[in-house]
């Protein structure tokens, strides 16, 4: 009986089969690889099957007549096929096309390297900036390892593609930061005032940047501050240069963050052998307050207010007499505030507005001469972004700035007051996922110079492969004459640079290759008339100036990053070659300026030793010798100092002690204690020469930071 039942059931089942429409076949991708798990179903019914591990399927259905068979697989474009179903067996083999994802969309990126978490694939992540050895947790230190930059150890600022420090602007949340760096001490490069942990994104443009910004002949470093913290937390840090603490409290859509720090560099300087005598090590106190309100994707408001001050005393080589030293004492007070509001009015329209105010006062004792510099900057920006249609996007805005610098040097008083107004508009057109163009116009007016200029800019990118793209960019950039001339009440017109950039980039989630070539022409550069060359940056400007200077810079930047080769190893190599000459300021002929190294190489490696929870990082820097001024040489700026070389090591250990997350770190800069030389200074008679040395050779830095996230058992 049992046998009979089974047999009958079998008969019923097989009868069933032939009495029903049956579709069978194989699902593959374009290359013919089978797609197991693909879904094959009759539209608007529950009749469906999945392809097996060989990609084949058999779909038996009750449906008859005009039907639609749908084949889909995650990551592929679905196919719909109309079919008239009868009690027959149909064979349907289909090839699916890969769906285009985020990875496949072109990104208009010539001239820019971004460190962001917002994109799935990025050249760098914010954390990479913080963990670069030798950068000592300074954003600029890390940026200086990127292609296109030169590290100039005795001068403060960012030197990009043949440009000097004044040609690069730093922007925070859309606003120019006038005193991004700690106040200058002649001969010692200063750190930035801002902690890298407060930024979620860094976008470094070494040329061809957007019309949103102006007044920078070579480069813009754009930083965006964090949004809402993930959780309320308390952070405490301690290192050889001070103490740091912060408290962040999240209240739903709002957060309040308060920070405070005490800086005293004495322990650090005491351990290192310094070339300069710090008779008063830098010491200071600062604090900040930050408010963030985030209403989902609708709006984001940020307010930052910070205030701080420091004082220091350094015995530095006398600027006027190379064989002597004198005491340089400084007392600084700095205030910075920034408020910005981003609102997504609807899915097509957004507005962004920001205001910021910064003030900086330096009380300086220049040897026996008292000097005081007081500067402030107030600015506002408002802009609208509008998505005209799927492939057309419009951005328009206006910017207004007023800034003033006043300097009293002994009994000489000087100063200027400038108002700048700019308007800009930019159209981004992406007719396909493979091709995009961004073109814009910026008009800027200077009240002080009584001049208006229009800068057109354009950039385009084309996706040549799944992971690769080529891009180009070009633009015109204007900038006021250097403050040193404006302070002396010597006015000239805008200086000008024109950039041409071509870039090839290949990027996967583990590897990046990027090569960029550029040509930059400079004209209308400021020149001092009838002046002999004087290498003193603090020289007194008394003669007339005009815009007869000019120059060029050309070069190739290469970047390679790999996280695939060895597990837990991340390394990148950046190399820049630059060829530049200019006739400007008090140069007597066209020459390569003293802040240029023709070849620059940086190798950065980070290795995580998983079982020990230890991170090891190393940075190697090599730069060919820079030109220096030799009054005895027949040719102007033709001599070169020996090459620069530096190795830094960093080690950090991550642990949790109870509920406290802690990082301990130690770093050594200039491991080999190499005696790098930045240049030479000559005695007035030109007989004696003195090397320009870094403030420190080998130095050691040790510290820790810990954080406690709010943990409430009731929350559990």
């Amino acid at each position: 009986m049992r046998l009979l039942i089974s047999f009958l059931l079998f008969i019923i089942a097989s009868l069933d089969c032939v009495s029903q429409p049956t579709i069978t076949g194989k699902i593959t991708d374009q290359q013919g690889n089978s797609l197991p798990g693909a879904s094959i179903y009759i539209l608007n019914t529950l009749d469906g099957v999945s392809a097996n591990s060989e990609g084949t399927y058999t779909l038996v259905t009750f449906e008859k007549g005009n039907q639609v068979v749908v084949v889909s697989s995650i990551g592929y474009e679905s196919i719909n096929r109309s079919i008239i179903l009868e009690n027959k067996i149909y064979t349907l083999n289909l090839k699916l096309k890969e769906a285009v994802g985020e990875l496949d969309e072109v990104v208009i990126s010539a001239g820019t390297i971004e460190a962001t978490n917002d994109r799935k694939v990025a050249v760098l992540r914010p954390l990479d900036i913080v963990t670069t050895a030798g950068a000592a947790g300074d954003i600029i230190g890390a940026i200086q390892t990127l292609p296109g930059t030169t590290r100039v150890g005795e001068q403060t600022g960012l030197f990009v593609r043949g440009g000097d420090a004044s040609e690069a602007n730093v922007i925070i949340d859309g606003m120019v930061v006038q005193n991004f760096f700690t106040s200058d001490v002649p001969g010692i490069a200063q750190r930035s005032r801002f902690s890298p942990f407060q930024f979620k994104g860094t976008s470094f443009s070494s040329g061809g940047y957007s019309v949103r910004y102006g007044q920078a002949l070579s480069s813009v470093l754009e930083l965006s501050t964090n949004d809402l913290p993930a959780k309320s937390n308390v952070n405490v840090g301690l290192n050889m240069s001070g103490l740091f603490g912060s408290v962040a409290k999240v209240f739903g859509k709002n957060s309040l963050e308060v920070t405070g720090s005490y800086i005293n560099v004495a322990p650090f300087y005491n351990l290192a052998s310094t070339n300069f005598d710090f008779y008063k090590a830098p010491e200071g106190v600062s604090g900040s307050m930050r408010w963030v309100h985030k209403n989902g994707d609708k709006s984001l408001f940020k307010l930052l207010v910070s205030h701080g001050g420091f004082s220091s005393g350094t015995e530095i080589p006398d600027i006027n007499n190379a064989s002597q030293r004198f005491r340089f004492g400084i007392k600084n007070s700095n205030t910075y505030s920034n408020a910005s509001y981003l609102q997504n009015i609807n899915s097509k329209l957004y507005s962004f507005s920001a205001v910021s105010f910064g003030r900086n006062v330096d009380d300086i004792n220049f040897g026996a001469t008292p000097s005081k510099t007081e500067e402030w900057r107030l600015q506002g920006r408002t802009e609208l972004g509008f998505e005209i249609n799927n492939n057309l996007q419009l951005l328009s805005g206006a910017e207004w700035q007023r800034f003033s610098v006043k300097r009293n040097f002994d009994t000489f008083n000087s100063g200027f007051d400038e108002k700048q107004t700019s308007i800009y508009t930019e159209l981004e057109w992406k007719p396909s996922r493979k091709f995009g163009v961004k073109s814009g116009l910026r008009g800027e007016h200077s009240d002080l110079l009584n001049q208006f200029a229009i800068s057109p800019r354009i950039s385009a990118a084309y996706k040549v492969g799944k992971q690769s793209q080529v891009s180009i960019a070009s633009g015109v950039f204007y900038q006021n004459p250097n403050n040193r001339y404006l302070l002396a009440n010597k006015l000239a017109s805008f200086q000008r640079a024109i950039h041409y950039i071509a870039n090839y980039q290949w990027i996967t989630d583990k590897q990046t290759f990027r090569v960029e070539g550029y040509y930059k022409s400079y004209d209308r550069l400021v020149r001092e008339l009838n002046e002999p060359f004087n290498p003193n940056a603090f020289r007194f400007i008394s003669g007339d100036i005009d815009n007869s200077g000019n120059g060029f810079a050309q070069g190739i930047d290469v970047f390679w990053r790999d996280r695939k080769l060895v597990e837990n190893l991340d390394y990148w190599v950046s190399y820049s070659w630059v060829d530049t000459q200019r006739l400007f300021e008090n140069f007597t002929t066209r020459a390569t300026p003293t802040f240029i190294s023709d070849h620059n190489l940086n190798v950065i490696a980070k290795y995580f030793v998983e079982p020990l929870k230890v991170n090891i990082a190393a940075t190697y820097t090599f730069a060919t010798g820079r030109p220096y001024y030799n009054p005895n040489s027949a040719e102007f700026l033709n001599d070169r100092v020996p090459h620069f070389e530096n190795i830094s090591l960093n080690i950090s250990y991550v642990t949790t002690i109870r509920k406290v997350f802690a990082v301990f770190y130690a770093g050594v800069d200039n491991v080999t204690n190499r005696k790098n030389i930045f240049g030479y200074r000559y005695s007035t008679d030109g007989v004696q020469r003195f090397p320009i040395e870094p403030a420190l050779y080998r130095s050691v830095f040790v510290g820790m930071s810990s954080s406690l996230s709010a943990f409430n058992r009731d929350e559990l």
Binding site: L8, D16, L46, S53, I74, R125, K200, T656
Partner: protein, 209 residues
Amino acid sequence: MKKLMILLFLVLTLKAHAQTIEEAIQKTLSQFNPGDRTATMAAVNRFDLIAKKWNTDWVSHYYAAYAKTIAGATETDMTKKSQFFNEAEKSLEAAKENGAAENDEVYALLAMISSNRIGLDPEAWQKHMEVYNANLRKAKQLRKENPRIYYIEGISKFYTPEAYGGGKKNALIYFEKAEEYFKKETKNDILKPYWGQEHNETMLKGCRE
């Protein structure tokens, strides 16, 4: 022979019988086996069909999202993983639009997806953590007795390195809390999701070892 006739009748009626959403979900769930890729994919596809048929019922989209989340979590290919999570989030969007905008299960599952994304894209952990926390907060706000909230928190802690406040010991309290709520949960209505207890017990054991 009479027996046979009854059987024959039964077979035929079963074939012709239109399924309800409960039956469809129940049947697919019972065949769902995360350890078997073919079965997992079959469930993912099946739930998608169910979601298309009963597309105004949030729970159909919820289960489609659930299957995709599990499929993503057990997938080894990084790109595919991320695609599964994208699809799961789309299904949860559909669930929200169909009456579950204020449903704790939806937010708990969204949190589970974000927590999985951390493993996928560790460098952007802060961003995913933010979404994870926001969704968990919302789920707790809506119904803090939902055991899956604590189960998901436990899983997330379990896979966080000890140095960052994770590990077995730190995860245990969450699994215990989940256990407590799982025991109180009535498991008779498939339209009110109740998955997770079995795996929670496995994890509990693992943590206590």
